[in-house]
């Protein structure tokens, strides 16, 4: 059919505005409704202690989901983040432990070094995936599935299958410390969110990401380096997974080889609930943050209601599918 005819030629402005409104604020409204219901049904929910708790529980998934947003915006996916969390967690911990380890003799080293190593592990894993996806044109699903397995294996080899305990208090501070009463993981999440928002909304690189995800062919003929853009998003996702891994080790006080299992699923869920399209080019990091908060609030609310965690998983599944169904509906127009 010749294009444009089915759509009304004039007067669409009204419906367009309404569409934008729902698209912009729909997820936020859903979040507020959820919060309202939980506050009414449980007086403890809106206490400072519980809010802080929810934010703390959301922080790791939030950081991962923000990295995932970069990747999904370019039509990709990163299944490896959960394993990279464990690998970066254990490698950085081995530099910051007071117990004698075989991996890094002569420790503990300065915390700054441990942190740098953790980020580096994430960045390198992301770079490996990025090269495989962007240069060798392996589908992201396959490349990151490979990394999911490989990074978990590397974690087990590195730590000999054992946890790395007794982390330096300075290292633990990034998981347990406070800044002006705000828990450190939440501070990190806020900083990561703000930077990512700025990159995606305000910079040239952000535009490259949307263009590559929206139409890679058009991006290429417009002079955009599609290969490089794809590479960099996996590096960002990997680096943030490294950061999340260290927060997790710091919070628990020791790095566990089985840490982060299935974290990628919650991260993808937050991105999807937040309205980012899996087919690329459409979405915002603000939506992702709210998506992560919705998951956090829901888990917390169900805990408060005394509902078994098994049921929570079913509800989360329904929420993910429901969010995408709503998305499809509103994309079909009003």
């Amino acid at each position: 059919m010749s294009d444009g005819n089915v759509k009304p030629a004039t007067g669409w402005l009204g419906s367009e505005k309404r569409r934008l409104l729902v698209q912009e604020y729909g997820i936020f409204i859903a979040f507020l409704i959820l919060v309202a219901i939980l506050s009414v049904s449980n007086p403890y929910f809106l206490t400072a202690g519980n809010i802080s708790n929810v934010l703390l529980q959301t922080s790791i998934n939030g950081v991962l989901a923000i990295g995932m947003t970069f990747v999904i915006l370019t039509r990709g996916i990163d299944l490896s983040v959960g394993s990279v969390v464990a690998l970066a967690g254990i490698v950085s911990a081995s530099f910051a432990t007071t117990s004698a380890t075989a991996m890094v003799p002569g420790g503990p080293y300065p915390v700054a070094l441990a942190l740098a190593v953790g980020i580096l592990v994430g960045v390198v894993s992301g770079a490996i995936v990025g090269v495989i996806v962007s240069r060798f044109a392996v589908p992201a699903f396959v490349a990151t599935l490979g990394m999911l397995s490989a990074a978990r294996g590397a974690t087990l080899i590195y730590g000999g299958g054992r946890p790395v305990p007794a982390l330096l208090p300075e290292f633990r501070w990034i998981g347990t410390g406070n800044v002006f009463g705000i828990p450190m993981p939440v501070v990190i999440l806020i900083v990561v969110f703000a930077l990512s928002w700025w990159v995606l909304a305000r910079t040239r690189f952000g535009r490259y990401i949307y263009a590559v995800g929206g139409n890679p062919h058009a991006a290429k003929t417009s002079g955009i380096d599609v290969t490089r853009t794809r590479f960099v998003v996996y590096v960002i996702s990997g680096g943030l997974a490294g950061l999340a891994g260290m927060i997790l080790s710091a919070r628990t006080g020791s790095a566990l080889p089985q840490a982060g299992i299935a974290y990628e699923l919650d991260a993808i869920a937050a991105v999807v609930i937040g309205g980012t399209s899996l087919s690329g080019g459409v979405g915002r990091v603000t939506g992702t943050l709210i998506g992560a908060l919705i998951i956090g609030v829901m888990n917390n609310g169900l805990d408060l209601m005394g509902i078994q965690s098994y049921y929570q998983q079913i509800l989360k599944g329904a929420l993910i599918v429901g969010a995408v169904m709503l998305d499809q509906k509103r994309n079909q127009g009003f």
Partner: protein
């Protein structure tokens, strides 16, 4: 005699807005009826109601004298109405025969599919149409043009009495189009009725017997093709008097803007050389697969295997990737704006700035003011009809989308403009605006290379025409010596 299809007073609105106000139409048996109108005229709405995709708000449809109302495409098909859509929907890894008989495969023993009978029937169908396609090939191995031909064969296989063809030639070459027209003639002789939708007026004048014109969702007029001439029909379609279709305002200068020597890419093009002067519009004509688009791929750094010398303003340049070509002042308007020209999920403004992002962000951060100003200036310059520049570019008509692509490249103030089918799928009014934009650019000293498979367009616009055949340049004709016969002769 009752007509195959008769429509009166058809109305349809979407969200309170009329897409069709008074659709009238009558199709006689054994005739080809052209449905004409610009983008937004209501043709697609009209077709989708007749095909049972949308429900009508009012009006009556008679099929061979019986009032009908279709609620699904299957019902329309069952009553003998088939459509050949513009957008293809093949199953790529199935064979041609499987695609043609999808969902109604002849069954063999034990409930399986009788592949032999199916392939035979499909091959007979293709041979009858004189399409050079084997029924046992997979769809994925075919060119876009051939897929279109299969789609045509599929529609015909339904043995429909009324066949809608929506821009069937938009992706196929001249020779294949002539095969299609021959097939249409045979269908006509069998007493079937064909409703033919096309922006290409020369085709309509070649094959149609009658016409109906829609404009702005309303019926404008109808009649016999024999009683109407081209300017009158154009006048009805655009609703205002237009001057000459092609007004050339440019004149080639003596200065060479672009020179190409021995351009080649293995298996695609071989030894292509030409010179284009500043102020000149250099046309490239050729059939599908003759290597037209591949020339641009080589010039713009999209073909890694390309070799040959490219000279701009007399000095040789090296182009490895599109960014190199852009840095040298080349601009490429690609063949398919939806696939390679626009980011349909983004806004008009962001599409206009798509090729100028580094220039708009000298310090990595996008300069919003620059972007707003650039978008505004291009919208004004090319009269792009958009309610706001933040609206999605997918909401624009084909002509306006194409002008957004032009705006994206003109923003870079290119030295050389490479245009691949610049008016494909664009209505008559917007076509003229695009011709004017191209001429103005050349008149101001720009160098233009334009690929077109529309003979009228290539003859009307070009100062010289290069004809491609089998990956080689078959000849370069001057404007004075080029005509339809010479182009077709050289290209086949």
């Amino acid at each position: 005699m009752t007509s195959l299809l008769k429509v009166e007073g058809l109305t349809k609105s979407f969200g309170g807005v009329h897409a069709l106000k008074n659709g009238q139409f009558e199709l006689a048996a054994g005739s080809v009826h052209a449905l004409c109108g610009g983008n937004g005229a209501g043709k697609s709405t009209f077709l989708s109601i007749l095909m049972g995709i949308h429900r009508r708000d009012g009006g009556t449809i008679w099929r061979s004298g019986q009032p009908v109302e279709f609620t699904s495409p299957a019902e329309a098909l069952a009553s003998g109405i088939a459509i050949i859509e513009q957008e293809l929907s093949p199953v790529p890894f199935m064979t041609v025969a499987e695609n043609i008989f999808l969902g109604r495969e002849p069954s063999g023993r034990f409930g399986g599919i009788d592949f032999r009978a199916m392939n035979k029937a499909a091959q007979r169908l293709l041979d009858d149409l004189a399409f050079d396609i084997r029924a046992d090939q997979t769809m994925a191995s075919l060119s876009v043009a051939k897929m279109q031909l299969v789609e045509i064969a599929k529609a015909l296989s339904h043995d429909a009495e009324v066949i809608f063809m929506d821009e069937p030639t938009s992706a196929i070459g001249e020779r294949e189009a002539q095969h299609l027209f021959a097939a249409i003639e045979r269908l006509k002789a069998q007493g079937r009725g064909i409703v033919y939708v096309s922006h290409r007026l020369s085709e309509i004048f070649q094959i149609a017997d009658a016409y109906t014109v829609f404009r702005d969702g309303a019926y404008v007029g109808s009649g016999r093709m024999a009683d109407v001439d081209r300017p009158t029909l154009i006048g009805m379609i655009v609703g205002r008097e237009l001057g000459e279709e092609y007004i050339k305002t440019n004149a080639p200068t003596a200065e060479v803007g672009l020179e190409v020597q021995g351009l080649q890419s293995p298996g695609k093009i071989e030894d292509v050389s030409f010179q284009v002067h500043k102020g000149e519009i250099f046309g490239i004509y050729g059939l599908m697969g003759s290597g037209r688009t591949e020339i641009f791929d080589c010039l713009f750094g999209l073909d890694d295997a390309a070799s040959g010398r490219i000279m701009l303003d007399g000095s040789e340049v090296s182009i490895e990737k599109p960014a190199d070509a852009m840095a040298q002042g080349l601009a490429l308007v690609t063949e398919d704006r939806k696939k390679t020209g626009l980011n349909l999920s983004d806004s008009v403004r962001r599409n206009i700035s798509l090729a100028s992002l580094p220039e708009m962000s000298p310090s990595f951060v996008m300069r919003r003011g620059d972007e707003v100003a650039a978008s505004r200036s291009m919208i004004e310059r090319f009269h792009i009809k958009a309610a706001r520049d933040t609206m999605p570019v997918s909401g624009l008509s084909g002509g306006n989308q194409q002008k957004v692509v032009l705006g994206k490249w003109f923003l870079r103030q290119p030295r050389v403009l490479l245009l691949d089918e610049p008016t494909r799928g664009v209505d008559v009014g917007a076509k003229r605006e695009i011709y004017r934009i191209i001429c103005d650019y050349a008149a101001a000293g720009g160098t233009v290379v334009m690929i077109s498979s529309e003979i009228d367009e290539v003859l009307g616009m070009s100062d010289r025409v290069m004809v491609m055949r089998g990956g080689r340049a078959a000849g370069i004709l001057d404007r004075t010596e080029a005509n339809a016969q010479s182009l077709v002769h050289l290209s086949t």
